[in-house]
């Protein structure tokens, strides 16, 4: 084959680095199980405080382990696997550097292990989704630069001149997260495991939620949109509905997202003008979000019959539905009047999980179900198990999110209830007791969701057992050897 032509078929398979994609996919699965198990334990602890054990296994230390493991372990693992798979095919070249790929894989896995241990030991900055202490922050930056060089280097060597929209989203993710992470984590070390933020009070809050909100934006949204833009059309066998909509979606989403952070600080001492900007841009965010959702849905146009039989498409479709729902709910919660009720309550937890379980996790599951058979050159062991996973997960989400909504509104209303004489109707502990039952149901929803993941683990293991990581001999040659018909 001449150097200038683009590789296809078996040549392409041998050209690409699929080993690192396999490793990222399996690591993600492991961290998914760990992160969601810790989440389930934390949920049970809220319902039954006797389940807190000693210094290392109580809610205060486990909660950040749960969030870090599911966001930076599970989700990012799938993003690394999916983006490394996609970028090689979209650019028709092997990843920039095998050494960087391995370094990236092991640095990232090492960081997740170190994060879990150090958080359990109480080494935390307390800033949400940025809890890791400064030595791990340094490691994260090195890891991220490794990913960036490897990813952008691959694109620089591409044989396919136009870059598809999925690549834009992944590129923007890499650049934006680098900026957010570095500036929010600037801290002055006291010792190896203790530091103080260089920002104080209201400034610290401001930069933390600039980071925190955009961790949602650029870890849980843009790279997942990259997965959706690449894997949904692949699975359904049709091109993305509209390239123009992709362009509008991309540029407006990344521009507007950054401004929305202050909606986490409504009615706080942050200046009013900043709070109002946060609210205004949150409302604007509905348009690009729904543009992206529609672009996904309309790609399924004329292929809805496939959704009936294909659990992967079901996951993509329901994932997009939750994306649309939570990107409508979020802006509503950014309105001052709504936020006055919802802030500090379980409504926030409901909102986060409708996005995280509904949109992010379902899209990640579909991506893994797409990848695993292709990475091991076989069919998925059981489509029926995948179908079961879809239904168990969806039921789990409903059982998680619905009680948390009710719980949030209940607590919000009870906190503000006043008697005719102006005194408060309820003591705080009465509002704690009132939501106990919802905490119990929520733990059940979480358990269902986790059991769905365990079904997937089984399915993946059986798929790998029947497959091979070797690229199989060309079918034509094999057929010729067997004697042609």
């Amino acid at each position: 084959m001449a150097e200038a032509t683009t590789p296809i078929g078996r040549e392409a398979e041998e050209l690409y680095d699929m080993a690192v994609v396999r490793s990222f996919a399996l690591s993600a699965l492991l961290w998914g199980v760990v992160g969601m198990s810790v989440g389930l334990l934390a949920a049970l602890q809220l319902a039954w405080p006797e389940l807190n054990f000693g210094p290392y296994l109580h809610f205060g230390r486990l909660r950040p382990i749960h969030t870090n493991a599911v966001i930076f372990g599970f989700t990012l693992g799938v993003v690394f696997a999916g983006s490394y798979y996609g970028v090689q095919r979209l650019c028709r070249v092997r990843l920039f550097s095998d050494a960087l790929s391995r370094l990236h894989l092991w640095l990232w896995n090492g960081i997740i292990v170190a994060a879990a241990i150090s958080l359990m030991l109480g080494h935390t900055t307390s800033k949400e989704y940025a809890e890791l202490e400064w030595p791990l922050d340094v490691a994260v930056v090195v890891m991220w630069v490794t990913y960036a060089v490897n990813f952008f280097g691959t694109i620089a060597r591409r044989r396919e001149k136009p870059m598809y929209v999925a690549l834009w989203f992944w590129m923007s993710t890499i650049l934006t997260i680098a900026m957010l992470y570095v500036f929010n984590n600037l801290e002055a070390p006291v010792s190896f495991w203790k530091s103080y933020s260089i920002y104080a009070g209201v400034h610290d809050a401001n930069i933390q939620w600039w980071y925190g909100h955009n961790a949602v934006g650029f870890v849980l949204t843009t790279p997942i949109l990259g997965l959706m833009y690449y894997f949904l059309p692949k699975q359904v066998g049709r091109p993305i509905y509209s390239h123009r909509l992709s362009i509008l979606h991309f540029w407006s989403l990344i521009f507007i997202y950054i401004w929305a952070g202050p909606h986490h600080l409504i009615y706080s001492p942050l200046p009013d003008w900043a709070q109002s900007l946060g609210t205004a841009f949150s409302i604007m965010l509905i348009l690009p979000s729904w543009g992206g959702m529609l672009n996904g849905f309309l790609t399924l146009r004329g292929a809805w019959d496939k959704v009936r039989t294909d659990p992967l498409l079901k996951m993509f479709a329901v994932g997009l539905t939750f994306y649309g729902m939570s990107t409508f709910e979020g802006p509503m919660m950014a309105l001052k009047t709504v936020n006055a009720l919802s802030h500090f309550t379980n409504w926030t937890i409901a909102h986060v999980h409708s996005g995280a379980l509904g949109w992010v996790a379902l899209t990640c599951f579909a991506t893994l179900y797409y990848l695993v058979p292709r990475l091991w050159h076989t069919q998925l062991y059981s489509l029926r198990l995948a179908e079961a996973h879809f239904w168990v997960a969806t039921l789990g989400i409903v059982l998680y999110v619905t009680p948390m909504w009710i719980s949030g509104v209940t607590q919000g209303l009870m906190w503000r209830a006043v008697n005719p004489d102006g005194s408060l109707t309820y003591t705080f502990i009465e509002t704690v007791a009132a939501i106990h039952v919802y905490d119990v149901i929520r733990a059940g929803g979480g358990a269902l969701f986790l059991s769905g993941v365990l079904l997937m683990v089984y399915n993946v293991v059986r798929t790998i057992q029947q497959g091979t990581s070797e690229v199989p001999a060309p079918r034509l040659a094999a057929a010729a050897a067997a004697g042609s018909r």
Partner: protein, 238 residues
């Protein structure tokens, strides 16, 4: 409408990357830079003082145990909140808070104004087992804090680092940090004993003492309680 104008962007990696980065910088610059320079973002409040050495250690324990995952420290300007907790939070109160601890979820009540609400001994018993004070509480027991010895080996260094960031600790305060912390801890231990708390072998020098000192400081800078419950943590060591 032709969208051909976008094609060159899709073919040029560097151009797309730079432009997308410019797009995400704008919002951050507008939201993050002006608050540092605009007058009125953080009006000064008389009476707001740096944490004492012991309170600072207590605050770091509050962070270590993730208390902020369930307790906010930010009273919003609603009657239902000021009635329940006390005066709403103001920017000037947080000038020595690194990091800020406003929190995002109230699984337990807000603590921004808890200082002086309960005696030291209440906090001790509540940490040992929250359910012996409130059977419906779902807070974890932190009995281990009442046994773990408080580590003061980094205290002086902590004050030095904070001073380098702008907290006005004097040379004397830094020099005396560990000793001052021990003095204040001694006063709290004495008040606990006076209330009949059995401190056991290690209780007097335990981490719980520092945490109590911190909790009793919260909201006291603005001196709003008409009759705060007397606590040793506001004693001579301050």
């Amino acid at each position: 409408m032709s969208w051909e104008w976008h094609r060159p962007l899709e073919a040029k990696q560097l151009l797309l990357a730079v432009l997308s980065f410019v797009f995400v910088i704008v919002g951050g610059l507008v939201l993050l830079i002006p608050p540092y320079f605009l007058q009125g973002t953080v009006p000064a409040i008389a009476g707001v003082e740096p944490y004492s050495a012991l309170e600072l250690e207590g605050r770091d324990l509050y962070i270590r145990e993730g208390c902020n995952t369930c307790h906010s420290q930010q009273v919003r300007p609603f009657k239902s909140e000021t009635g329940r907790y006390g005066p709403f939070s103001m920017a000037g109160e947080g000038i020595y808070d690194r990091p800020f601890l406003w929190g995002s979820r109230r699984t337990g009540p807000d603590l921004a104004r808890v200082g002086g609400k309960y005696p030291d001994s209440w906090h001790w018993m509540h940490l040992v087992d929250p359910r012996q004070i409130e059977p419906r509480s779902n807070m974890p027991a932190f009995a281990f804090l009442t046994r773990e010895p408080l580590d003061l080996s980094l205290t002086r260094r902590k004050l030095e680092v904070l001073r380098s960031l702008g907290t006005p600790y004097s040379d004397a305060e830094i020099e005396d940090a560990a000793a001052a912390a021990q003095r204040q801890a001694g006063e709290i231990a004495a008040s606990l004993r006076k209330d009949g708390v059995d401190l056991g072998e290690s209780g007097a020098g335990s981490e719980a003492i520092a945490l109590i000192a911190y909790l009793q400081h919260l909201g006291r800078d603005i001196r709003w309680r008409e009759q705060p419950i007397g606590t040793a943590s506001l004693g001579a060591a301050r």
